[in-house]
Amino acid sequence: MIEIKDLHKSYKMGSNSLHVLKGINFKVDDGELVAIMGSSGSGKSTLLNILGMLDGADSGEYTLDGVPIKNLSETKAAQYRNKFLGFVFQSFNLINYKSALENVALPLYYQKVPRKERQEKAMQYLDRVGLKPWANHLPSELSGGQKQRVAIARAMAAEPKVLLADEPTGALDSKTSYEVMDLIQKINDDGNTILVVTHEEDIAHMCKRIVHLKDGVIVEDKKIEQVRAEQYV
């Protein structure tokens, strides 16, 4: 599904150049649930941005579902993002003047799905994260966990090939975190490929594979026994 070969990325900081990713080789198969771990400054967010086509790599290859991702125009990148990727952020990033339902329907708007169908589909996904009764609430009327579930429903609504989650539990207490992880595990059970960036051990162990990043290189990549979040909920 995802294949990365010798990926380099550096940032210009004034006259200095900061080499963030120093040759990443990395492969994710269909249906995997991968945790990317590392302390801050390890380059994990940069990697996620490149995977999410929000940033370009300096050198190296990136193939997503057999499509080479290179020198994309903004328009093309937007198209690919819409088709291939779903994003979940630490700070939820819901549009605050739109209801939960409208937020979930937004990626479908950019897929040019007609309004009626959009709303039905969005309602389905809201139902899947258990928030159907909150469909017409604004984000400000939802709790943190509910917001993140709306964000997950939104990411899933576009039926992406890969779900990218950047610290999805970073802003949540542990109980709510486990609820969100439970949801992510269930989505993964349905066969979706998911990448989770986190620095929390327990969250990482709820995935099926852990990739350790340190100073811009992968230092460890191991398959693990998945801890089900269900038992903590």
């Binding site: 929000l54 903004e74 328009t75 630490q90 003047y97």
Partner: protein, 414 residues
């Protein structure tokens, strides 16, 4: 271009951001409002000044004699100049081609005027039939003096509308009534009206009657003319200046006055005077346009400012939209679509309000030199279009910046 989905997005956004939309709209609407009102008043001033000059025929030239102030050909200064019939006849023969209407005027003094038992204290003037056109008097009832009256020294009188109202309020019509001029009955045959009441407080009688019946001899007090119409304003002004100079020259020769003794023969030309005022109104209009355009520019800058703030405020939202797959062009279109929509609606609102105000208040404005301020609808309409266009251009920069928003930066946690 008509994309119902996007319209729904826009309406959603507007409905949920009422204050922001309202403020944007207000700055645009007030810009248009101020411009239209200013243009209206510019027009109003022009109307007012034109109105002031309509009181007499616009090409009229008036001549009145004075006192010589210079010694000339052995004659002492301080002579009082007296115009006579001969002056009129000779001038008429000399400048025949450039005279449309001509009339001498005799101020009749030292007589008592009575209607029934009531003494009338109005001025009595002898004029010829042409005077109606020179003075721009319009007849309310009956007729003005005609040539026949002049030839037959008819005992007829034309009264002003004010006199009719003040004196003849008990009879149905003053026509056919008799006014007694020092014992001689004059029949009222017409009522005229003027722009101002003051000018209606006059009784006109045939000039020949005034001279013969009231011992006027061949003396006249003033001479007045109108010139034939010509193609354009500048030509008309040139014609009236030439005529004025020729006429003065003739009169100076006829009365042995030094050529540079301007006080002895006064000549006043309405057109020359009008030209100065027209120049003034044009300048005023230009000034109003200038102020108006500055207002519009301020409006456009305001709109683009607000759009910049809007984009800033919506950076995060735009980042989210981009992450969800919004193409740069769709971001630009969204921002522009909203700005055009808001500008157009509020622009036309401002237009409607200001036009309504001018329509309602305009006709009632009664200030000197301001009359019926109004604005050409097409001008106002195109101004709104210009504002929308400028607003679009102004909105484009922020929109373009919005499209360039870096998703990572915009979504970074605060």
């Amino acid at each position: 271009m008509f994309d119902i989905e996007r319209w729904q997005e826009i309406f959603d956004t507007i409905r949920k951001n009422k204050l922001r939309t309202f403020l944007t709209g207000l700055s645009v609407a007030s810009g248009i409002f101020i411009l239209v009102i200013l243009l209206g008043f510019g027009q109003g001033m022009q109307n007012g000044i034109e109105h002031e000059f309509k009181q007499d025929a616009s090409t009229s030239v008036w001549v009145w004699p004075g006192i010589t102030s210079k010694e000339y050909k052995g004659l002492n200064p301080g002579r009082r100049i007296q115009l006579v019939n001969e002056n009129i006849d000779k001038a008429s023969a000399m400048f025949n081609e450039t005279i449309e209407y001509e009339s001498g005027r005799v101020f009749v003094g030292g007589i008592s005027v009575n209607y029934g038992k009531e003494a009338l204290v109005y001025g009595v003037q002898g004029v010829s039939s042409d005077f109606q056109f020179i003075d721009n008097a319009s007849m309310v009832e009956g007729r003005f003096i005609n040539y026949q009256d002049e030839v037959s020294t008819g005992k007829v009188a034309i009264i002003g509308n004010k006199i009719k109202k003040d004196v003849f309020n008990e009879v149905e019509s003053p026509i056919g009534e008799f006014i007694d001029f020092s014992g001689i009955p004059f029949k009222v045959i017409g009522v005229f009206s003027e722009m101002e009441d003051r000018e209606e407080e006059v009784i006109y009688i045939p000039i020949t009657t005034a001279q013969r019946v009231f011992n006027g001899g061949d003396r006249i007090n003033t001479m007045s003319y109108t010139l034939p119409p010509v193609e354009n304003f500048d030509e008309a002004v040139a014609q009236s200046i030439t005529f004025k100079n020729n006429l003065r020259e003739y009169l100076q020769q006829a009365h042995t006055i030094a050529p540079d003794d301007t006080g002895a023969i006064g000549v006043w030309s309405a057109l020359e005077e009008a030209k100065r005022y027209y120049g003034l109104t044009n300048n005023i209009k230009l000034f109003f346009w200038f102020v108006g355009i500055c207002t519009i520019i301020a409006g456009v800058v305001g709109v683009s400012n607000i759009m910049l703030i809007v984009v800033k405020e919506r950076t995060r939202e735009i980042g989210i939209r981009k992450a969800l797959g919004a193409k740069p062009w769709s971001i630009i279109a969204m921002i522009l679509h909203e700005s055009i929509f808001v500008t157009a609606i509020s622009g036309f609102t401002g237009l409607i309000f200001s036009m309504a105000l001018l329509e309602l208040v305009g006709p009632n404005v009664e200030i000197d030199y301001v009359k019926n301020p109004s604005v050409n609808f097409n001008v106002a309409f195109s101004t709104v279009l210009v504002l929308i266009l400028a607003g679009t251009l102004a909105g484009f920069v922020p929109a373009w910046r919005a499209a360039k928003v870096q998703v990572i930066e915009s979504l970074r946690d605060e």
